[in-house]
């Protein structure tokens, strides 16, 4: 499964901050930890803040901390902030043909399994049982 860069950064940042909700980390701290762009991470953190998962971040050096619920937040909740909703996908050319429809059913089956998996893993589970 391929996640967009923003999704991956969103998951990294949320899980790292959720490890210790008392701790404050800046976009630069997180970027250094995961070896990614701090500019990109700052944008991702703003999305997470709007969603009520993290709080903080005044100025470039401003720190963020986790304010969500570790047990109630699933990986899917974060993925959904950055990836298009499954139902909102535009129709691909050829999808209305018999072969196109059959292929789409296989791809939908894969998406449903991926979504069930992401929805069943809470941040708490992820941090308690690193797989």
């Amino acid at each position: 499964m391929k996640l967009q860069t923003a999704t991956r950064l969103g998951l990294y940042a949320t899980l790292e901050l959720a490890r210790d909700p008392e701790r404050t980390l800046s976009a630069a701290d997180l970027a250094e930890r995961f070896g990614v762009s701090s500019h990109h991470l700052a944008k991702v953190l703003r999305t997470l803040a709007t969603a009520g998962l993290v709080q903080g971040g005044r100025g470039a050096a401003g720190g963020y901390r986790f304010i969500g619920n570790r047990r109630r937040t699933t990986l899917m909740d974060i993925v959904a902030l950055f990836e298009p909703a499954p139902g909102s996908r535009a129709k691909e050319p050829g999808e209305d043909t018999e072969i196109g429809g059959a292929l789409q059913r296989v791809l939908t089956e894969i998406d449903e399994i991926a979504e069930a998996t992401l929805r069943s893993v809470s941040l708490e589970t992820m941090l308690k049982h690193p797989m």
């Binding site: 069930a116 929805r119 308690k128």
Partner: protein, 139 residues
Amino acid sequence: MVAIRPAQASDLSAISALDERLTGLSKPTYWQDMLAPERHFLVAETDRGDLAGFIAGEIRAWEFGQPAAGWVFAIQVDPQIRLKGVGTALFDALAARFQQAGVTRLRTLVDRKDHLILSFFRAQGMVAGPSLQLDMELP
């Protein structure tokens, strides 16, 4: 706090009633069959002796070509006493019985749209197993 003990015939009506309340389906014969000696059928009981939940399973070897594993067939907890660790206590008790019987793997099947139960098993440390379930409607 709840106490975990093996289910007995006198528990069947409460088990059947709790399951029917949660699933909308009445299956008393199925629960009766779970009392068979090769099955592991446990109940969680409150201090007042009321049913808080139950779990049922069995050790099966070579089903679908797989070596022996402890299967969890069903688990239900009274919604009014959820989030108090009853499900985890039942799960741990069944896992301990499987381990005593020499089994080192636990396995179950879950409706992929039932996020509650899927999350519960995930929180116990379970991950996707080696098999993929396939299914079709017969004409």
